[in-house]
């Protein structure tokens, strides 16, 4: 099993390097699909065969820097395995979408996407804080090249904003891990268990971690990079950023929060309030958008707010819910951005006002869109419902007032989704660009079906992701 895990981690890197060295268009397409697919299948097989209890499994460990007691160590556990699968799945979608849209210098592009995939997977699977930090930063160069080189408009500014925000707040991650190293003498996640610190120091340490991850998620006062980076980058990259890279922050919090439950008792309400403000604020921003991609960007910003709020509630439901909802949100955000890209490709615009009266023209597209809108709105039986229930119950258990705020945000979320659906598909009479829209066929149909099936399956069987996650928390509590 160890070999399988190494294969899953290393195949995107090898694929990326091969493409970079050979620089052949057709070959690079083949290799990029192949390496992502290998990674996805390997992770899936590993996910099906592992003990859903306890700490890291199938650990690969190579000695690296003995002076700091740091090894190159990757392992799977109940937390990071779903994220790893999500990353591989989303990269296949992103690669496919990129090949559909005409892109110059596609070899470099694909090799950068594969490198990005490698760094993100490395981030998710690393078992010590140092490696975690390295991958957190190593993800920056491929990401900013992708935004800058293949983005539209003023992508130079967008890429720089993204870079400076993320890089600047990595100070706090640095301070956090050095703090852990000082207190526990080692960089491993295990050492978080044995922190011998006063409550005040622990609070500062946790705030450092929170700030570093909050800019990645992002939470509202730190979201300045989001609009340009999401809107101006090519849609496959937007999909990747929103579905996978935003989750890096949530995963980081998920990793450290269980060890800081005493801190959350003290200041938890303030951070949750911040996340909920982010949730509602972004929902209001989304409410009056007429630009599809911008709407989805703000929708993504809004939803990660409640996921983080649930996580920080410190309850079992909240933690379960944020794990489940991250996966659900990844899949659904990817499908919504994919939708926007379909419209952009056919009508050359993201404008929603120039569409309408599509329900008879493109029945399959309407079916999928409606399914995703229902799912995102929290319809029982589809995936989002389960996560939302868990998150809300977590927040309510923490405080009724905060729970009430969260409910408001959820309600606004339904409103802008309905507006979106009405403006694009139902509004009569239709506008000029409606005539250009064609139905989904072929490979895109397959991708949407896969997304739909995942949504439905996770709606009916959420324990596939969260499973007996309680066991892990009992493990942490030991």
């Amino acid at each position: 099993m160890m070999e399988l895990l190494s294969l899953a981690i290393i195949s995107p890197l090898l694929g990326g390097l091969l493409i970079f060295l050979i620089k052949d268009r057709r070959f690079s397409k083949f290799i990029s699909y192949l390496s992502s697919l290998i990674s996805l299948i390997a992770f899936f097989v590993l996910f099906l065969n592992f003990e859903k209890t306890g700490g890291f499994q199938h650990v690969i460990s190579l000695e690296w820097i003995p002076a700091w007691r740091v090894n190159i160590e990757f392992g799977l556990d109940k937390f990071n395995a779903p994220f790893a699968i999500l990353t591989s799945l989303i990269s296949i979608v992103a690669i496919h979408l990129s090949l559909r849209t005409a892109i110059e210098r596609v070899e470099n592009y694909l090799s950068l996407i594969l490198l990005l995939q490698f760094t993100v997977i490395g981030f998710y699977l690393s078992t010590n804080l140092f490696l975690f930090f390295i991958f957190y930063e190593a993800m920056l160069p491929p990401a900013f090249f992708l935004i800058y080189r293949w983005g539209t408009g003023d992508s130079y500014r967008a890429a720089f904003k993204f870079l400076i925000y993320t890089f600047a707040f990595s100070i706090f991650l640095f301070i956090g891990i050095i703090g852990v190293f000082m207190a526990a003498g080692s960089f491993s996640f295990e050492s978080l268990k044995e922190l011998n610190l006063s409550l005040q120091d622990k609070t500062l340490l946790y705030l450092a971690f929170f700030l570093a991850f909050a800019v990645k998620i992002p939470i509202v006062p730190l979201h300045g990079w989001l609009r340009d980076a999401y809107y101006l980058s090519p849609t496959p990259i937007t999909i990747f950023m929103s579905a996978v890279m935003g989750k890096m922050g949530i995963y980081g919090l998920l990793r450290v929060t269980p060890y800081f439950s005493d801190v959350l008792l003290e200041i938890g309400w303030a951070i949750i309030l911040l996340c909920l403000i982010s949730f509602i604020y972004a929902a209001f921003l989304a409410l009056n958008q007429r630009d599809m991609k911008l709407l989805f960007s703000y929708m993504s910003l809004s939803h990660v707010g409640i996921i983080t709020a649930g996580l920080l509630s410190g309850t079992l439901q909240g933690l379960n819910g944020s794990l489940l909802q991250s996966i659900n949100h990844g899949v659904l955000a990817a499908s919504f951005f994919y939708l926007a890209e379909i419209f952009k490709r056919q009508t050359k615009s993201y404008d929603m006002d120039r569409l309408g009266a599509l329900s008879k023209r493109v029945p399959v597209l309407v079916f999928f869109t409606f399914a995703f809108v229902m799912a995102m709105g929290g319809f029982p039986g589809l995936s989002y419902f389960n996560g939302e229930i868990l998150l809300l119950s977590g927040i309510f258990r923490h405080s009724v007032i905060l729970g009430f705020l969260a409910i408001i945000g959820v309600a606004i979320g339904v409103v802008y989704l309905c507006y979106f659906f009405y403006r694009v598909f139902l509004k009569k009479p239709g506008s000029d660009m409606s005539l250009l829209v064609r139905d989904v066929r072929g490979f895109e149909f397959v991708i949407f079906s896969v997304f739909f099936i995942i949504t439905l399956y996770l709606g009916l069987n959420p324990s596939f992701v969260i499973g007996q996650v309680e066991n892990i928390f009992t493990y942490y509590g030991r």
């Binding site: 690296w64 003995p66 800058y148």
Partner: protein, 449 residues
């Protein structure tokens, strides 16, 4: 006096003298180049094969494995500079033999400086390489900026030498000896010693272009020939930092200079990075960045003595190769010192663009390059030693630095069509440096002790 440890310098200077005589008679550039290269490489070879290590105590000069490693790097880096200047200068000047002689003399001066165990030897070797530097900086006699650079460097450099001599006089008056070991016996609380050591450090801060002793650096870097700038940016720092490490662990053990170190290094970090932000000339930009990097490295002297070398030496090694790589790329491009010339570099030479990208990422401190590991190591150790504020400032400033380093990378990967000619010969140097920097980031256990 132990002449055996001076063997590399003796051989290098002998060959260099032969080169000077042959070169002034025959004026044939390939002959001059290969003789000079063989001089420098024989220095490396002797150090590698014989590795002369002197015994304990009582000598004017003293070597140990770390110092020998630095000497190898000085001569090896000198070989790079020789190659750079051959491609930059050999067409433009007929005084190549003199240039190379000065260059090699300055290399051996720096090499002696790393070994010095006596204040007088320190002074002599500093003068040896500084005098060569003044002339090298003014080597374009026809160019006013080059003359200005040499002049400025000379005047301010002489001032710092006077300060150094003054501080040596202080120490001599106090201890009656000039050897570093005798400094250990000083009364550390006296105002007298503190004043003397501050003077001493100021003289070296000038050589390292630390703020507020940095005023010469940008103009000199801009005016000097580019290969000479590459020399200024890399090798003297290596020698002076190693010497300071020795002094801090031997002589200034008990003196509390932390306030001075904190002030100087914080000022250097702030000023270097902030002023680099708006530079359009890459040589000036790298000058400010070298001020900033000196500031980072200077914080290492806050550490307890056994950690100074293990923190500083890796940083110095990779700082050398980052500079060599960056200057190799700059020299390969026509008008490479202007940042606008980098537009669309990737369309002409992907190899150069990639090497520049790796080197610049390493300057910024982004993994998987060695720059990240060494910076992390430095900041971690300083943080653990209890100077969190300086570390916070340092990281904050290195985030600012991302803007001006990565701008070069952005330019070279822009889609603009580039129209300029390239010098292909230096590609090997650039790729070699970039490769080392990358390998150092992936396998840090080799140099982290």
């Amino acid at each position: 006096m132990n002449y055996f440890s001076l063997l590399p310098e003796i051989i290098v200077i002998c060959i260099a003298t032969v080169m000077l005589i042959a070169g002034t008679i025959r004026r044939e550039r390939h002959l001059i180049f290969y003789l000079s290269l063989s001089a420098v490489l024989s220095g490396v070879l002797v150090l590698l094969l014989i590795n002369p290590v002197s015994g304990e105590g009582g000598h004017l000069i003293q070597t140990d494995p770390v110092v020998n490693l630095i000497r190898i790097l000085i001569y090896g880096g000198g070989a790079f500079i020789l190659i750079f200047s051959f491609y930059e200068l050999s067409e433009k000047t007929d005084r190549l033999a003199e240039f190379y002689f000065l260059l090699i003399m300055s290399l051996s001066g720096m090499s002696v400086l790393t070994m010095a165990n006596d204040l007088l030897i320190i002074y002599l070797s500093i003068e040896l390489f500084s005098l060569c530097f003044y002339i090298l900086a003014a080597f374009y006699r026809e160019d006013r900026r080059s003359i200005e650079a040499g002049m400025k460097y000379f005047v301010l450099g002489t001032l710092s030498s006077i300060v150094l001599v003054g501080s040596i006089a202080f120490f001599y008056a106090y201890t009656g000896s000039t050897s570093l070991e005798s400094l250990r016996g000083m009364n550390m609380d006296s105002k007298f010693t503190i004043f003397g050591s501050l003077l001493f450090l100021s003289a070296f801060a000038f050589k390292l272009s630390l703020v507020p002793f940095h005023a010469w650096s940008p103009d000199v870097y801009e005016g000097a020939p580019t290969s000479v700038t590459a020399l200024f940016a890399s090798l003297p720092k290596l020698a002076v930092f190693i010497l300071l490490g020795k002094i801090f662990s031997l002589a200034f053990k008990g003196i509390d200079l932390s306030l001075f170190i904190i002030i100087v290094s914080s000022l250097s970090m702030i000023l270097g990075n902030v002023l680099a932000l708006r530079q359009k000339n890459l040589k000036r930009m790298l000058s400010y960045s070298s001020i900033a990097h000196s500031g980072y490295m200077f914080t290492a002297f806050l550490l307890p003595e056994q950690e100074i070398y293990t923190t500083l030496v890796p940083y110095l090694i990779f700082y050398l190769f980052m500079n060599l790589g960056a200057f190799a790329v700059i020299l390969s491009i026509e008008k490479g010192e202007k940042i606008d010339s980098f537009h669309g570099l990737n369309n002409i030479s992907p190899v150069l663009a990639l090497s520049m990208a790796i080197v610049m990422l390493s300057f910024t401190g982004i993994p998987p390059t060695a720059g990240f590991i060494v910076k992390f190591n430095l900041f971690k150790n300083v943080f653990l030693a209890g100077y969190g504020g300086v570390v916070f400032l340092g990281i904050f400033m290195s985030i600012l630095s991302a803007y001006y380093y990565l701008r070069v990378v952005f330019y070279s990967y822009s889609s603009q069509i580039a129209e300029f000619s390239l010098r292909k010969e230096l590609r090997v140097c650039a790729v070699f440096s970039a490769f080392l920097v990358l390998a150092g980031g992936v396998f840090p256990s080799i140099y982290l002790l």
